[in-house]
Symmetry: C2
Subunit: 134 residues, 2 copies
């Protein structure tokens, strides 16, 4: 069912410092900051040859990243995103197998403009998993 | 400097359950368990079209995964691994930029039989980073 690893998302307490680290010290291709007010984050995409790293920083008062950074002040890996061909089929299969889909269970439009769902970390070895339809 | 994302490593409290989840529920290509006594882990590789997921489970009394699982009983993402062409050049550049290399600073032979180094999470937004020479 799952296809490519679309991205690894890392929540960071200092977006400029993290971008500089990936650009100057690790020598990666680092994009500009993009505000995503619908998702409560400012995002920087780092393009690797085979996948992406997303740096996430809180935007606004109700950012989903805010509480994560309170618990992990140095930052940390927030989630991983797998691609699926059909997100509704994927969701129904997951629910039939007993996995919990977060929120209403209906896909939302994610930061890439594609339908996404998030799965409960407790059902996936402590890992917050995003599914994105591509 | 960094190239492909070689793998994302997830520490899991139940290797069989995590393998079944990725194979049966997520429909991924899941390999057999491999004991790596030199690294204190049993590993299962999950092959995605563009990268790998490594499931890590403690092996022996001094596993580096043991304390991680004590802190994160449900499991969690343990590290991410970037490929580099020349690990000694990468190390020297990182040290010159003030990043801390774990252990002796000399590369070890990793689970894939290639030279690896680990970088201090505090210098990389709370993320344990492995570099692997390919």
């Amino acid at each position: 069912m799952i296809g490519r690893l679309n991205h690894v998302a890392i929540a960071v307490p200092d977006l400029d410092a993290a971008a500089a680290l990936y650009r100057d010290t690790l020598g990666a291709k680092v994009g500009p900051p993009q505000d995503e007010p619908d998702h409560g984050v400012t995002v920087i995409f780092i393009t690797l040859p085979n996948t992406k790293i997303e740096l996430l920083y809180p935007l606004g008062d109700n950012s989903p990243i805010g509480s994560f950074l309170e618990k992990n002040p140095a930052g940390g890996i927030h989630h991983i995103c797998y691609e699926v061909e059909n997100i509704l089929e994927a969701r129904d299969k997951l629910k039939a197998d007993g996995a919990r889909v977060l929120g209403t269970g209906e896909p939302k439009i994610g930061a890439h403009g594609k339908p996404v769902l998030f799965l409960h970390p407790k059902d996936f070895s402590g890992t917050l998993v995003e599914l994105e339809q591509v």
